[in-house]
Symmetry: C2
Subunit: 211 residues, 2 copies
DNA sequence: CTCTGCGTGGACCTTATAGTCCAATTTAGC
DNA sequence: GCTAAATTGGACTATAAGGTCCACGCAGAG
């Protein structure tokens, strides 16, 4: 850190391909562990073991655990948004919304509701502990909700959704139903409440269909 | 623990009023700390300091931290259900549902959404770590949802809610909207999404009103 | 081929935290 | 009051976890 000659402080010193690969391996392993065990309950030793790295490599890439956590948050946000973009960017019909719902429910059914939403569980655990993580998560939720709202707007443009509907509010409501559904499913170890919650939100949106 | 003559193992040895008061002080302090800092981030030393007790007293009343956590979960569940009973047991009209919504939103606005729902945040943190806590939380959610469903049924009996409405499903959907709203509000430090989510759920229920 | 510096392994240190123990004190029945 | 049990205070231990350090390895530029 006090080595002169290199960059001034400790900004992203230039990484080789190998370094980048190690870093990715660490973040991936940490993301998996933190999803299953929770952020706090995941130790750096867990991460080290799961990623087949050593302590020095962790601290080569991250100043401390908080920074690793933030990298995990960013990574998860990126992953989920990319996945959701795949589902939502072509959304143009209510049927598409139903398919989206089915995909989420099915994915969650694989683990019987356990662990909840990767974004939601981190949001709950970190929002009041790490403001930077909180902001990243808030932005991720906003983008995710935005994808839904955009889809609803396309439905309006296509004439299938009434102009009296407010896509932004409907999207927020749908996202809340999704997150609440995840939480209840996680607690009950049963995805039924998640289905019920999403169905109710979709029923409500259905009431705005024009045909 | 190996003291002969008293009860066989270590069942709730008989407590005096003083002991009971100490125990309550510990659980209360722990509940507050865990709500604000999270369960994992709350140390027994924090609890000890906040409750003005000593280590031996903690271990007098709880075998280990997990047991304290379970006591906190049970306590919170009891508190919230008691509070919600006050609001919901006389619920007979849609207006009453709106008042209930307003009360929850207002309470959450006091802290700008921070910390979320006391039950929800514990559910998220504990569901995949402590199965006993998870079950208690699941039952608490079920009871809470049941209070809402019972209110909706009274509305049906009074003729203001259509018989085609399914009170149980609507209650689950409303609870999910509430919990999802809490989570989004906590993440954004802004209660707007909570309001939006609850409004959407209420709008949907409104569509089943008969007059 | 060899020199430079990023990249790596893992021992080591420090602190914080869960959990133990026992002597001293208070309480409650007799 | 007296005695036994309940209660309390706080020092003490063990360990797990975060974080530091340094010697060595390796890969690419000259």
């Amino acid at each position: 850190m006090t080595r002169p000659g290199s960059a001034t402080v400790a900004p992203p010193r230039q990484l080789t391909a190998r370094g980048l690969a190690t870093r990715a391996r660490i973040v991936d392993a940490a993301a998996d562990l933190m999803y299953v065990k929770g952020v706090n309950a995941t130790t750096l030793d867990d991460v080290r073991a799961a990623s087949s790295t050593s302590k020095s490599q962790l601290y080569q890439h991250f100043a401390d655990k908080d920074e690793l956590v933030r990298a995990v948050v960013a990574r998860r946000a990126g992953q989920i948004l990319e996945r959701e973009q795949g589902y939502l960017q072509r959304l143009r019909s209510f049927r598409g919304l139903e398919r989206w719902r089915d995909a989420l429910v099915q994915r969650n059914a694989l683990q019987n509701g356990a662990y909840g939403c990767a974004l939601g569980s981190m949001a709950s655990e970190l929002s009041d502990q790490d403001d930077e993580a909180r902001q990243t998560l808030a932005e991720a939720f906003a983008e995710w909700t935005g994808l839904i709202a955009a889809g609803l707007r396309r439905m309006q443009d296509a004439g299938s959704l009434s102009d009296t509907a407010d896509p932004d509010k409907l999207a927020v409501g749908l996202m809340a139903a999704l997150q609440g559904g995840y939480l209840l499913a996680e607690t009950q170890h049963d995805i039924t409440p998640m289905e019920t919650a999403l169905d109710m939100a979709l029923d409500h949106i259905r009431s705005f269909l024009t045909k």
